[in-house]
């Protein structure tokens, strides 16, 4: 880890930009970055490097992801509420028009795909779509916010919460819990019957059925969370790599700028697509959980 003021190598720059701001408990006896040794009983503090993050173990919180995700959620709620209060039955303009477009789009998608009766689904779909779409934060130049925060003393920062696998898997597990809840609520004991007697309808095959169905069931939240994470992480990585290209030489400034613009335009498409896919898959899984033969 380079100290502030030293010139960093390219890999150090990349690794620095890929590290989350972590708050956790260091075990006792651990030697910290600045040479001091942690006293008995452990110490709750912000991490100063990758090995400190590893030593903190499972119970460490990524403070920057939490703040950005909660903050973006609050901004979304506030914005949409302001528009909803102002909505009239006349012809909409500007911001009201934009919000209405999004709500109509989500409403149409839910109506096409969801075959049950549940007032929770459409607002859930809207929340998922808009929150993932706010990953437009990814398009802010790589160093702008982290560097300004570094000057303010905060050492690591990742401003796109979806590049943190904790956040995306958290959302996917939330959807999974909803799936299980509605499956049991709508189908009752039929849910267990479905797990154990598909696809072979003979009681002798129950272990085989259970195994296959459980694997299929677990694959859903896993792939849902990791798909979003993989896309966002790879996109962020390429942004950082192109940004590192700026430091090679004066000749590379213009091609690197063009590459950044080109990749940003492509990434807008990817973000929208991934938001759409996450939303549609959530609706489809919840629709499957509501199926009542």
């Amino acid at each position: 880890m380079a100290a502030n003021g030293d010139s960093q190598t390219v890999s150090e720059y990349i690794v620095h930009h890929l590290t989350n701001l972590t708050y956790g408990k260091l075990p006792e006896g651990f030697e910290r970055y600045d040479g001091s040794v942690v006293q008995a009983g452990g110490q709750w503090t912000m991490a100063h490097g990758a090995d400190e993050i590893t030593a903190m173990g499972f119970n460490a919180i990524h403070v920057d992801s939490m703040i950005w995700s909660v903050g973006l959620g609050i901004i979304f709620c506030w914005l949409f509420r302001r528009v909803a209060v102002r909505a009239t039955s006349g012809v909409p303009t500007g911001l009201v028009n934009f919000v209405e477009m999004i709500v109509e789009f989500v409403d149409g998608t839910v109506k096409d795909t969801f075959h049950g009766r549940n007032p929770l689904i459409a607002p859930l779909a809207l929340t998922i779509f808009v929150w993932v779409f706010l990953i437009l934060m990814d398009l802010i130049p790589v160093d702008l916010i982290p560097h300004s925060l570094m000057l303010a003393g905060v050492e690591y920062q990742k401003i796109v919460p979806s590049t943190d696998p904790n956040i995306t898997m958290g959302m996917a597990i939330g959807v999974f819990v909803l799936m299980l809840f509605y499956s049991i609520k709508v189908k009752g004991f039929g849910f267990v019957k479905e797990l154990t007697l598909n696809p072979f309808h003979h009681p002798l095959f129950i272990p085989v059925n259970l195994f296959m169905e459980v694997v299929g069931l677990l694959a859903k939240p896993f792939s849902l969370g990791l798909r979003l994470f993989g896309n966002m992480y790879a996109g962020e990585m390429i942004f950082i790599l192109i940004a590192a290209l700026f430091s090679v030489g004066v000749f590379w400034l213009l091609p690197a700028a063009l590459l950044q613009i080109g990749w940003a335009i492509f990434h807008i498409l990817v973000i929208t697509l991934q938001a759409f896919i996450f939303m549609v898959l959530t609706i489809v899984y919840l629709s499957m959980a509501h199926e009542d033969h």
Partner: protein, 75 residues
């Protein structure tokens, strides 16, 4: 340590091949379907993007992990 680069290259290469073939087949079906029934073209296009995102999922996860291996694990 050099084997990590080879591993990441294989991950990205095979993933890219699978994604390209899958999305290519899907795109071909989209063109065929649009030619048969032009009025369904927008709906088919929406479904195409959905399918492309699903096909791309595992290769993109592979790319993410491969980049992590190259830049963070292998120094």
């Amino acid at each position: 340590m050099e084997l990590i680069y080879v591993a990441a290259a294989i991950m990205m290469g095979l993933g890219g091949m699978g994604a390209a073939i899958g999305v290519g087949i899907l795109g071909g079906k989209l063109i065929e379907g649009s030619a048969r029934q032009p009025e369904l073209a927008p709906k088919l296009q929406g479904t195409f993007f959905l399918g492309a995102g699903l096909v791309d999922a595992i290769p993109i996860i592979g790319v993410g992990i491969a980049m992590y291996l190259i830049f963070v694990v292998a120094g």
